[in-house]
Symmetry: C2
Subunit: 331 residues, 2 copies
């Protein structure tokens, strides 16, 4: 059983028969001490159970290298590629990154945020809705809060994202420029999905005076979703000539269904995805999709955290990292 008090740096120094300064030096730069000494310190750390460098003293100094990322669902999730880029970038910058899964549950989201604050996380990265009470609570803390994947007017602290309404609008322009006349929009009913849908519908109706047919996805994403939505499309009076699918996996699923029922993609029915995940370039036909710049989001966040560490003021509270429509074979 572990002891109930945390071992200290001097416990390690004692066990390794070196000075506390040497142990300190080892933690900030292992190469700065002799190899044999380094190995002795490493052994002492393991023997004593001393918490390694970054986390040590986090409660005392109110700082840690812990970063907590909260997402609604693991997979299939639109966020996964952004989160992967973030985990990779922040981990290589020395952060201890953990991912919390909220399951679209507000109370659960709140509990994970409170846990991160209790552990004095350096940063919380959120993708879901945050209640006014919890927003206030986060603002009182010294934890950096970064909302990603949207451009809120009143961010809790900092936001790094892009305009979903603009994505919808650009998709409508793209679809029109390709000569399609009967789009079908598959709406992801989250707040961001609704914005994309509204951007698309407004632009399409203004530009063409025509209507759009629609299907609603379910959250959390359910098995069989693509089959169900394709069946819905098949039941329409007139078949759409292009389907805007939300996530690429939904686009992939619709292509599989379309081909199974003898339709050619894009000749009989075109398909557009969202997220530009690996599957978009791997599917046959390859999938036209919306690319959001995961790397840029990750780099922007790493830079913000670094600047905060240095005590610099963050002037730009809402960072727009943009998006791109990538045209491929499917539309």
């Amino acid at each position: 059983m572990a002891s109930t008090t945390l071992p200290t740096l001097s416990d390690v120094a004692k066990a390794a028969s070196v000075s506390s300064a040497t142990v300190s030096r080892y933690f900030s730069n292992p190469d700065s001490v002799a190899t044999k000494t380094a190995e002795r310190i490493r052994q002492a750390v393991l023997e004593t159970g001393y918490t390694p460098n970054r986390l040590a003293g986090s409660l005392a100094s109110n700082k840690s290298q812990l970063v907590s990322i909260l997402i609604p669902q693991l997979a299939p999730s639109l966020f996964i590629e952004t989160i992967e880029a973030l985990v990779s970038k922040l981990s290589s910058a020395g952060c201890i990154v953990t991912v919390g899964v909220t399951e679209f549950d507000a109370a659960h989201n709140e509990a994970l945020i409170m846990a991160a604050l209790a552990y004095r996380a350096k940063a919380i990265i959120v993708t879901g809705e945050v209640s006014d009470e919890v927003r206030k609570f986060i603002r009182q803390s010294s934890t950096t809060a970064i909302e990603i994947w949207d451009l809120p007017e009143d961010p809790i602290d900092i936001a790094v994202g892009f305009s979903h309404w603009e994505i919808g609008r650009s998709l409508a322009q793209f679809v029109r420029s390709r000569g399609y006349t009967r789009p079908h929009f598959v709406t992801n009913p989250g707040p961001r999905g609704i914005k994309r849908r509204n951007g698309f519908l407004e632009e399409w109706q203004t530009g063409t005076g025509c209507d759009v047919t629609e299907s609603l996805m379910q959250l959390p994403f359910q098995p069989g979703a693509a089959r169900r939505i394709f069946a819905e499309i098949q039941r329409l009076e007139e078949r759409p000539d292009v389907v805007l699918c939300g996530p690429d996996w939904m686009a992939q699923g619709l292509i599989v269904e379309a081909m199974h029922f003898g339709l050619r993609v894009p000749e009989d029915i075109a398909v557009i995805g969202f997220g530009n995940s690996a599957v978009a370039s791997e599917m046959r036909p390859t999938i036209t999709s919306v690319d959001i710049d995961d790397q840029r989001i990750a780099e922007t966040i790493a830079e913000i955290l670094l600047n905060r560490d240095r005590g610099e003021e963050i002037r730009e509270k809402v960072v727009n990292t943009g998006f791109k429509i990538i045209a491929r074979e499917s539309a």
Copy 2:
């Protein structure tokens, strides 16, 4: 900015103008106090920044409801469905669950384990390799360690999984019973993937006296993997009649490639996946796959944690949750 000392239960009691005993009662069972009092306490918790019930006092009591799950990669990952079942089960049991992503990096895996121990996690759930030193370190702690997805001979603490060698063996028997004669095995080069491969090869060669052709996947999973492996298969002197694919997404990718090159699945080339993820029953043709019982793994782990909480001794240190081959259209 937050104060550097954690607010206490009595801070909350003072702010809510109730006794500490009432606050305590509220945390163990909110319904046991009057609605108005409960609301006052909730407000006081938010005002003071008191850490909610489960985490409170975790450092003092050496216990928390924090569960840390470590996986090598978010998506595409073989583990995702097991992790989702676990997150859901443990969250509804009142745990604060976080997922750490190790990126197949031993040092990073170690840092995440140490962080979980430093935060006095109730449990660490690991899928990757753990060095002897870190094993010793975990054993000295009061944290429950659960290795999942394998049946190690000498578990760190407790293991919940199944036999990958047996899966390989059963797949060989299945393939033979279906009359296939030229299997191609796509090996996932992780320790578990190697065991499945060895089980398959030993059983196949013993049973038939024949050879097996092979491809090696890369870890972490790379975009374009299915295309590359299908191209490898196309270059073989004789085309295999069945391909054992590892993850279902690889099976899906191979089916897409095969159909693109005019081959019929399963008539010209049969395909078998692993993991029985949603895609297996959604693909056209549906994919024959190996089902591992995610729900049973999650329930077993929840029960183990509950029993430890109650102070019961865990007699069964290695729990075999088994597997099933699900025959569908693709083989």
